[in-house]
């Protein structure tokens, strides 16, 4: 199970060009947006693409994004519940 969280951290660092971060720097519960990692609206869109590309989950309502992408933990839970890949 923890492999998914590590995988997510690696993917996020790569996909969102978070060059100055390493997997160990990202806590499972740190907020991804706002004061945590400081991701922005384009990052949300990239995460939606990643969700579909890597896990086969099509997000039909982008507003759900705020909850699903709140933290690595929340993302992992959502993916575990909904992945088709």
């Amino acid at each position: 199970m923890s492999d998914l969280r590590t995988e997510l951290k690696q993917n996020i660092i790569e996909q969102l060009n978070l060059e100055e971060l390493e997997v160990a720097d990202i806590d499972n519960d740190v907020p991804l947006f706002g004061d945590g990692l400081g991701l922005d609206s384009i990052d949300v869109l990239e995460l939606i693409v990643m969700l579909e590309k890597d896990y086969g989950i099509k997000l039909t309502d982008p507003d759900q994004g705020k909850e699903i992408f709140a933290s690595i933990e929340k993302m992992a839970e959502y993916i575990e519940a909904n992945r088709t890949k």
């Binding site: 922005d40 384009i42 869109l45 939606i48 693409v49 039909t60 982008p62």
Partner: protein, 378 residues
């Protein structure tokens, strides 16, 4: 201060191949948006305003060989040629050529019969210049969705400074898979024809068009003339794709343009907004308009008729604004349902005849750019 006049113009769009046809269609409430099949979309397709290729080729045959020019080139060459037809005595060695496009011949990135370098936007400038024999090097502006209006502002600034006395400004862009796929990844494409400023707006519809207008420092002989009396472009400095929540850049653009025009918000009779129908753009514009005291000015977006024509949009819509003023006509903001922004606006819901003298045209685009133009009828 030199006055800069808007003389003859031409529009090539799905609503018609002349300004007159386009105005008639708008008065009729006709939209150029149609459903086009495309597997990228869960609904099986998308709505857009697309010019029929065969019709375009047929029309282009009158001035050149369609097989030698790309779709966008045909559109833009036709627009310029129509303006030149109405001005046969124009001295092309002294007339500037100012071109606006965001992506130019971007469709040539896929397999195409044209040489590789034809995809360069600078090459588009050469093609138009050489077709007509303009002597001055074309000035090509590629500045996201404000390009068409910015081209007018650049023309006005150079004419006022005496660099040249007249300029033909032409703008154009295509509905391409390139742009469509990009906006789709932004979740910005509406599943139905776009609804600017509406509660039920769900994003943009794309469109393609070409438009051209002649600008001059010489006052035309006509009962009424339209001039650009103020213009400004201020960047939000907030985000490269999301507009400023306080409408900072647009507000400052409007203030500066009104300041240059020496006209107050109270005197503005008509406001031609950008109104792309995304949640954020329309909200930002509503905030900026209210901050500027323009909330009671009759306003519309033309995107319901054309879709978002990118590098053509601000130019095309400025031309429509010019005719609005000349005809004393306010055109309905097509597809409007009910107000869907947090600040009040006076959206034109039905066609109306009204005495008009001053108008403001606004535009905003990726990169945080904004533009405001002030037009006057004398």
């Amino acid at each position: 201060m030199k006055k800069i006049y808007l003389l003859e113009d031409a529009i090539f769009s799905p609503l018609g191949f002349s300004t007159e046809e386009n105005l008639a269609a708008i008065k009729n409430g006709s939209s150029g948006l149609r459903f086009h099949k495309n597997n990228r979309f869960p609904t099986g397709g998308f709505f857009a305003g697309i010019i029929e290729n065969e019709l375009l080729n047929e029309t282009f045959l009158k001035i050149g060989k369609p097989e030698k020019f790309t779709k966008l080139e045909q559109m833009m060459l036709l627009a310029v040629s129509r303006v030149l037809e109405k001005n046969p005595d124009l001295n092309l060695s002294k007339t500037a050529l100012i071109i606006s496009t965001t992506k130019g011949n971007v469709d040539l990135l896929t397999k195409s019969p044209f040489p590789k370098n034809r995809v360069y936007v600078s090459e588009l400038g050469n093609v138009i210049k050489d077709f007509f024999g303009f002597q001055l090097e074309p000035i090509v502006i590629s500045n996201a969705c404000i390009s068409g209006g910015l081209a007018l502002a650049v023309a006005k600034r150079f004419i006022a400074a005496g660099k040249f006395d007249q300029a033909i400004v032409v703008g154009g862009d295509l509905v391409s898979e390139f742009v469509l796929s990009g906006f789709h990844s932004f979740q910005a494409i509406s599943p139905e024809p776009c609804r600017p400023f509406s509660k039920n707006r769900k994003g943009i519809s794309l469109g393609e068009a070409a438009a051209a207008v002649l600008l001059s420092s010489k006052k035309p002989i006509a009962p009424n003339v339209i001039s650009i009396i103020g213009e400004a472009s201020v960047n939000d400095a907030n985000h490269i794709s999301g507009p400023s929540r306080t409408g900072e850049g647009l507000y400052k653009s409007i203030q500066n343009a009104l300041g240059e025009a020496q006209v107050s918000a109270k005197e503005i009779d008509y406001l031609s907004a950008h109104g792309t129908a995304t949640a954020f753009n329309d909200e930002m514009e509503a905030v900026a308009f209210n901050r500027s005291g323009l909330e009671n000015v009759p306003m519309n977006s033309f995107k319901g008729y054309y879709g978002h024509t990118l590098g053509a949009s601000a130019l095309l819509e400025s031309i429509l604004t010019k005719h609005s003023l000349l005809n004393n006509e306010l055109y309905a903001s097509l597809n409007f349902d009910e107000i869907g922004v947090s600040k009040p606006l006076n959206v034109i819901e039905d066609f109306e005849e009204k005495e008009l003298q001053f108008a403001v045209k606004t535009a905003s685009g990726f990169g945080g750019c904004n533009l405001a133009l002030v037009f006057k009828k004398d």
